[in-house]
């Protein structure tokens, strides 16, 4: 029980912001759901609700296709500050 209390309770950040529709061009919103290597984070780690997780998945995939977000970040093509890509 003591271990559990260490962490704050997870909640869906998109529900809090009352987001009805996600635009793939607004990549800042997807930041919560992306790992450092730009993988889609699982719901059990981010705390997203099912509805918003499905929206996030679709939006990230669209943003990747439009070259707004990288598909992979590997050791071969290192970006110094990967999250700067989002803030353009």
């Amino acid at each position: 029980m003591a271990e559990k209390r260490k962490y704050a309770r997870k909640y869906c950040k998109y529900c809090e912001a009352k987001i009805e529709f996600m635009d793939y061009k607004e990549t800042k919103m997807l930041k919560h759901s992306l790992s450092e290597r730009y993988k889609i984070m699982p719901r059990r780690l981010t705390g997203n609700c099912k509805r918003h997780q499905e929206m996030v998945e679709l939006t990230i995939k669209r943003a990747r296709a439009a070259a707004l977000i990288p598909y992979v970040v590997n050791t071969k093509q290192v970006i110094a500050t990967p999250f700067d890509l989002l803030n353009q």
């Binding site: 009805e20 529709f21 635009d23 061009k25 669209r62 439009a66 070259a67 707004l68 990288p70 353009q88």
Partner: protein
């Protein structure tokens, strides 16, 4: 007629005139195929997340339009043929929530002619405001009693 959004990425190596010509080209083929363009969003040249055809940058532009379903296939075919486009993506807006967002975006990026009119209107509004502040300053000089009133008025304005 359905609601769509079309994102195109042009090569950064083109000159300004050429990019403009290509944007007009897209508009033309959309309208030729029975589409009504509601808005055009220019995202400008920005870094690509990964190189496409060994290019690091791309010129982004987004079109919001309504079109019959058959138009998309033809427009995509034409864009695919044109070499200057390194990437494109069309998105369909279907349910109510998506449509609401489409309308919002269409209003936000309504075609340029309307925007200029709005800009002029705002300019007109600003000019009388400046005049009033000047009047207030002149009143300050006239009497010290009115200064307090003027300051209050300024505070409310702010």
């Amino acid at each position: 007629m359905r609601h769509y959004e079309l994102l195109t990425v042009l090569k950064p190596t083109l000159t300004e005139e050429e990019t403009k010509a290509k944007v007009d080209f897209v508009k033309e083929i959309l309208e030729k195929n029975g589409a009504q363009i509601a808005a055009f969003q220019e995202m400008g040249t920005r870094r690509l997340a990964y190189p496409i055809q060994k290019l690091e940058r791309g010129y982004y532009s987004v079109f919001y339009f309504t079109a019959p379903t058959s138009a998309i296939l033809e427009v995509e075919r034409l864009i695919r043929i044109t070499e200057e486009f390194i990437r494109f993506m069309s998105v369909k807006y279907e349910n109510q929530k998506e449509m609401a967002y489409w309308n919002k975006q269409a209003e936000k990026f309504a075609l340029k002619v309307e925007k200029e009119v709005e800009a002029e209107e705002t300019l007109d509004e600003e000019s009388p405001k400046e005049a009033t502040t000047e009047d207030l300053v002149s009143e300050e000089v006239v009497s010290t009693e009115t200064v307090v009133v003027v300051e209050e008025a300024k505070a409310t304005q702010e």
